[in-house]
Symmetry: C2
Subunit: 112 residues, 2 copies
DNA sequence: CTAATGATTCGATAATCGTAGAAATATCGA
DNA sequence: TCGATATTTCTACGATTATCGAATCATTAG
């Protein structure tokens, strides 16, 4: 993972509503959540949420997938994993858990 | 660690020069680096770097300490550790490494 | 005390971000 | 096809961010 994408990912998460949205998507797991559901959960106007989801998508942290008229968003665990790996390696003095910093489920669970 | 401070920390790191500065400080370790040294390393005007260091300080990621006329900055490993912990717990589906996500040295090595 | 050094704060400016209503786009049901 | 539903894109605007020279503050040496 490169510094450029890391910065975009950090920036994407560095905002109240986006962090909340991402957390909700992580919690939702594989099946994800529709834009509407998310907008209601976060109490945001659709257009505002849409803006934030676009930022997260642009940062590669979430994925979009159409299902009927709904757009279902879901967290990209591998991307989050990459971010954690970068931070561990570059911002944590190459500490102990560097090798374990697979904070995903994803690699394992997505495949399963 | 609370969402509010997490957002400030993420925002602080989500910028080219600040991420570079923080990485340099992490690498520098305990002894830290002076503002001047850092400014030269990053090729930034003093006033610009000062602005960024203030942001990092405000986010609690770095510490300041005067030494003669120089201000020495150093990374706060515990804060970074806290950030990693939050992300692991809240943004990684409570994955495997949650308990290990002590990405610091700090707690152990600072004391030593 | 004065000059020199290291660094921050001030000030102005350009650029980006967040917000949310309104208009447009896509899909589905009848 | 037409209307309803789900969402995005457009638009405008206020707020925040990044930049950096100039002015200021703090510390030390002479």
């Amino acid at each position: 993972m490169q510094a450029d994408i890391v910065i975009r990912a950090l920036g994407a998460l560095a905002q109240e509503h986006r962090l909340a949205a991402f957390r909700a998507l992580v919690q939702a797991g594989e099946s994800g959540l529709s834009a509407g559901t998310l907008a209601e959960a976060l109490q945001l106007p659709n257009s505002s949420l849409s803006f934030h989801l676009a930022q997260l998508t642009n940062a590669g942290l979430i994925r979009q997938q159409r299902q009927g008229r709904s757009l279902i968003y879901s967290a990209d665990y591998a991307a989050m994993n990459g971010l954690m790996g970068y931070l561990t390696k570059n911002c944590c003095a190459g500490a102990v858990c560097a090798a374990d910093a697979n904070c995903s489920i994803s690699e394992e669970r997505n495949v399963a």
